[in-house]
Symmetry: C2
Subunit: 248 residues, 2 copies
Amino acid sequence: MAGNTSVPGATVVSRGLALLFAFDDAHRRLTLSELARRADLPLPTAHRLVGELVAGGALVRRTGGEYVIARRLWQVGLLAPVETGLREVAAPFMNDLHATTRATVHLAVREGTEVLYLERLSGRASVPVVSTVGSRLPLHATGVGKVLLAHAPDEVVTQALARLTRITPYTITQPARLREQLDRVRRDGYATTVEEMTLGACSVAVAVPAGSHVVAALGVVVPSLKRDRARLVAGLQVAARGIGRSLA
Amino acid sequence: MAGNTSVPGATVVSRGLALLFAFDDAHRRLTLSELARRADLPLPTAHRLVGELVAGGALVRRTGGEYVIARRLWQVGLLAPVETGLREVAAPFMNDLHATTRATVHLAVREGTEVLYLERLSGRASVPVVSTVGSRLPLHATGVGKVLLAHAPDEVVTQALARLTRITPYTITQPARLREQLDRVRRDGYATTVEEMTLGACSVAVAVPAGSHVVAALGVVVPSLKRDRARLVAGLQVAARGIGRSLA
DNA sequence: GCCCATCCTTTCGCTCAGTGGAAGGACGTT
DNA sequence: AACGTCCTTCCACTGAGCGAAAGGATGGGC
């Protein structure tokens, strides 16, 4: 009378991956029951699969019973061809920008309706920065996100405008106001945010062109825009144009 | 009369992972049959599992039939806690070093009898550099490797000396000669290589201390050591000491 | 002390997902 | 036309995977 009632179409592989993909930037350590919940698996099943993932070197169990992604998976993940050319070309320009501004410098691309951070150079730690390389954030609340959205197909813009999540009191949640800002971004050639993602952090970003297309966005995070917005914009544009030229 | 003859102790999960771990720095793109060979699986089995890995977003099939690690796995891999504290602390010091030397700068730790590269800042591209972040190389043929070996337990040294693979004509393959060099590394406080890993590339490296232990190595790669060995050693030692102090 | 919650672990019999030999197809080389 | 290598599909057998249920372990509230 016993037996299984497993969801049809769910292979062991897909379940194993569901467990791995249960981790994200906000959940780098998960307990067994959290994993089971997030991967939508019965606890005993999760228990066995997680055990196998640990045995296979994909996860590590820490003292305390929390699981984290193993070093081995880090090594394998780094083999993925994620905008390799772009990142290589951008690196020296980002270094220069970082050296002259001392700000946090970001390189990001659009992935659906989110920004995907490809590269980051941390500035003096006084400014809080939430983004991490590999992490994704909504397009409407970040400088690089606004730039990417301003150059995205209409379809994407519509989709993004439909769900303007409030993150701080300053996050723009009115579609009309964001539309207006996107127009301004296209006209002025740069985007800004003022504490829309993180309190105490402002940002400036510009588009990285390749031919006539925009392939990425380059941005900096600073404590305030009052003083040197113009200088930052100029620096960013020099770097972005440099990257664009090197890509051609 | 048909049936299976699957290897005992091999779960689906372990096989899936074997397929993922079939990728390495020298094999970032693999065909189905290469995958099957490297993971030691029958072709039809590999075919099905790889299909599931693709469906699950862990692999991507490129036009031409080659598989590569998917972007999604890159994102998950980056969540692994791989010497996070060390890398964060080291970043600004590495930036400074990179700015003053214009050389390729490396941060690495020992993993068994290999060097694991944690961080890299590329210099002017004229010098060939094989290491990548996340990649591993033998300890005896790299600057950072020699430093790490010089401060490794005897057991590890013995193991490493037992297999001194020749990589270039200048690779040190005589145990006695390497032992002598390791003594010198401990005495002088730095290691060098001269085209022992890559023709046309030399390196200098120093230990990163944390308290009385060595936790990592910091190195630079340059086209030649003739001119500015002393300057490089000085720069490296300042940076390494800075990192060590910040870690305490 | 006792209860209840939440976590993790193990057991166990059913059954279907996983298995891989065999066969077939696509392409290129000799 | 005969061989090589690659990829794909088929299919009958079966043991690997399944998860409800039960059993521990721990911690907090009263």
